[in-house]
Amino acid sequence: MRFPKTFVEDIPRRKFLELGLKGGLALTATPQLLTQLLAGQGTSASPVKVGADSSLLNRTISKALEKGGDFAEVYIEKRISRTILMEESKFKSAVFGISQGAGVRVIAGEKTGYAYTDEIADDKLLRAAEVASTIARGSRASKPVDIRPARRKSFITIKLPLGEVAEAKRLDIIRRAHQAALDYDARIKMASINYYEEVRGRTIANSEGVLLSDELPLLFFVVQTLSVGNNTQHLGRERLSRHSGFEMFEEVTPEQVARACARESIAMLEAKDAPAGKLDVVMQNGWGGVLVHEAVGHPLEADNIAKKIGVFTGKLGQKVANPVFTMVDDGGHPQLPGTESFRNIPIPRMTNTFIDNGKERPEDILASTKSGLYVQSLSGGSVNPITGVFNFTCREAYLIENGKKTSPVKGATLIGNCLDIISNIDAVGNDLDFGPGICGKGQSAEVSAGQPTVRIRGINVGGTRAAR
């Protein structure tokens, strides 16, 4: 359900979850704690000192269950972020953010109560607990809670902690990307480099006695290039994102990202009108996995299944797709954006979602497709999880003529029904790769999507001329 957004709606929960006021048990946001976080110290030993405050957490959880309820949880987050934008050869802006907050959740049967506060103080947390508990009208006497630190396996390794990186190094990475983009071709008229990093400290304590803390770094590097020529223009985009330290830029250089972006911008200057109507589509490996993220992943998320309205309702154990199709969600994939050491947002959602490798060579899939559309990259897409109707928009696509990739075509929207699509995927390559994205499901979350090269028979393409 969509509601108009206005600033007052922006401040509350959505913003809270999106921008992370979920505040760290940085509860005690003392300057020392802040300094530690900023310095990126203790990546495994969280800077969030819980011991001293576990009594407050215990009291908050007890308060939350005072009126009854089956489960209560306190989630506290502190996030420190930096955004630097270089555009038109200038460092245009630099944005620094510190946010913190705490959410209290109470579950009673099928009801959920939730309240949050961005002031992490005794009275505010207890007040949030009281508000969250209003949904519970039972008589169950609340038991005293005694939380104990627990551990979860971490999939994140950090070599160069973000907090220890000198500012000049960040600026250098951005400059290098900017230069490489402009150097790629004289028709690249503008480059825009957006660097984002954050370190998020989180603590979760619940009525089952679990107490977890961790710290998660995130890098999101986006290059956009504007090409002008051939009487048109194209804004290309390339992204690189990981839960990683600064070593990400040693593994994939800023020049590589910039050149990939510039290549797309130049290639698409030659784009012709896309065909309209049902076509066979071959999707290149990588971020094209947004196809399954939208078309299959969202409809599989349990919220709509539990309501018995999702398109996959009642289909557990049934054959729903072509046997060559296997899809995986893996929250433990090292460094990928959707990876977390524990899940933080209490809604069902994807992490790193991908179509698993098949056996075919990507070049054979293309060669065996007589005519159709070769989709090299996608902008993104969306789905109605109830009907299963999804759409996604091509960033870079080519005609397939006699088994060969030929002319580039303008960005077309593809539309279909998820059940049809997974039945009509008839070829799966052996070249699985991933791309990063931001998934918006009321709350935004970083995820990744992946796939090997696949072929889908007969999908509706929104072009501007009738297909042959």
Partner: protein, 444 residues
């Protein structure tokens, strides 16, 4: 807390710490969200939040830092961060703050009564909308109903003497239902948002629309790939307006990343196309007395009878373009710099009734849903997924789904040959029904 005094004080502190110019942007608000399903409360959320963003200028370099911790030491640290961060950016003569001190009043933005209505009344509204929407036998399941409200205050203070604030509120409720027939599933939802609680539509009206949207789309039929007239329902106004908004962003225009960059004062559309941006409309959901950096909002013609009349600017980009701010600095909250964005943005009403437009269409597609990115603001290409109704001989014949529509902004703008009189200004981005003579439709 006296936020105005605090903001003014913080500006002074920034200067003392070494900023040449400074701006404090403060937001404070609370919200309530209730979700209902099958007659029971599913979630209740309540929250209050606030935050401050500091925009700092040192020798023409600009940086920004924000915090939601109002402790003096935290705010002190935040402004120091911004001043420090300004070392990393490039000096630019256009990096200035506005100094417009006019205090404009826009009526009807804040309803003190919303908060006073009992929680039970609000719960009952959502419950009733769900109950009524489920009454139709074709509706088989509820996807939930909701009520939300929020209110907040914005304060802006800067070192050029601006000190302004306003309060605003919004409340909304809606319902989403599913119609099923055999293996078919069709969903429909409707919501209503207003500044004032008393102005909300009745649950009866919202429920009936949601149910109709769901069952009307049962038993769709395929149509062939073809060119035909396309009628845009007010629900899909965004497919037209979204791309225009991206293309009239003053910064994108200066960068040449807009298909409208070189078209100022030229005819870009049919004479039936007049587009307005209005920040001053009383009770408007996107109205405010001043923009994201304190400049008074205006009512402006962006396109007048097909001629492109102007772009949207904030202070920095307006100075660079040599035209000044148009009061379109947009702020996505206290955590970021002012960008550029519209207020109440709409295609002005025509004189034809929607029924008349349908009657005048021999063969065509009435669009009720468009998915995808709409018009690409950089090159003007348009492509989207589509659903709606097929029109034959001036009558709605049957529902259609899984289609695509595509063309260029030129095709769309110049192809508009009928504009409805059914403009609903209670929506922030809106259009009456309008018809585009001919667009490519992708189907079987």
């Amino acid at each position: 807390m006296d936020y105005k005094a605090l903001s003014e004080e913080l500006v002074k502190k920034c200067l003392k710490k070494g900023a040449d110019a400074a701006e404090v942007y403060l937001e404070s608000g609370r919200n309530l969200s209730l979700e209902i399903r099958n007659g029971e409360i599913e979630t209740v959320e309540e929250a209050a939040a606030h935050g401050i963003g500091f925009r700092i200028f040192v020798e023409g370099r600009m940086a920004f830092a924000s915090s939601n911790d109002f402790e003096a030491s935290a705010l002190d640290n935040t402004m120091s961060r911004a001043i420090e961060f300004a070392r990393s950016t490039t000096s630019d003569e256009n990096n200035v703050l506005p100094d417009e001190k006019t205090i404009q009043d826009v009526q009807g933005l804040f309803d003190p009564q919303t908060a006073a209505f009992a929680l039970e009344t609000k719960i009952e509204m959502a419950k009733k909308a769900e109950r009524l929407a489920m009454k139709d036998p074709r509706i088989t399941k509820s996807a939930g109903a909701a009520y939300r409200e929020g209110e907040g205050e914005v304060v802006i203070a800067n070192s050029r003497g601006i000190l302004k604030s306003y309060k605003a509120s919004v409340c909304s409720f809606g319902v989403s239902v599913v119609a099923e027939k055999g293996e078919q599933k069709s969903s429909g939802s409707e919501s209503c948002a207003r500044r004032f609680f008393a102005d909300l539509k009745s649950p009866e009206e919202v429920a009936a629309t949601a149910a109709k949207k769901a069952y009307d789309m049962l038993d769709p039929r395929p149509v062939k790939t073809q060119k035909a007239a396309v009628l845009f329902d007010p629900d899909v106004a965004g497919a037209l307006l979204g791309g225009i908004l991206g293309a009239i962003n003053g910064e994108r225009v200066l960068q040449g990343a807009s298909f409208l960059a070189k078209r100022l004062n030229q005819k870009i559309a049919s004479e039936l196309m007049t587009i307005v941006d209005d920040g001053t409309r009383p009770k408007g959901l996107a109205s405010s007395p001043f923009d994201g950096e304190g400049v008074s909002t205006q009512k402006r013609l962006i396109v007048e009878k097909g001629v492109l009349k102007g772009f949207l600017y904030n202070t920095i980009v307006g100075k660079r373009a040599g035209v000044g701010s148009t009061g379109n600095a947009a702020r996505g909250g206290f955590t970021g710099l002012p960008d550029i964005g519209p207020h109440n943005f709409y295609l002005a009403a025509g004189t034809t009734s929607p029924e008349e437009i349908i009657r005048a269409t021999k063969t065509g597609l009435l669009l009720k849903e468009v998915t995808g990115y709409g018009i690409n603001p950089v090159n003007g290409n348009f492509s989207g997924g589509a659903a709606g109704f097929w029109i034959e001989n001036g009558k709605i014949a049957y529902p259609v789904k899984g289609l695509t529509v595509a063309g260029t902004a030129d095709d769309m703008f110049n192809g508009i040959d009928m504009v409805g009189n059914d403009l609903d200004l209670n929506r922030p981005r809106t259009a009456p029904m309008f018809r585009v003579k001919l667009l490519q439709i992708g189907g079987e």
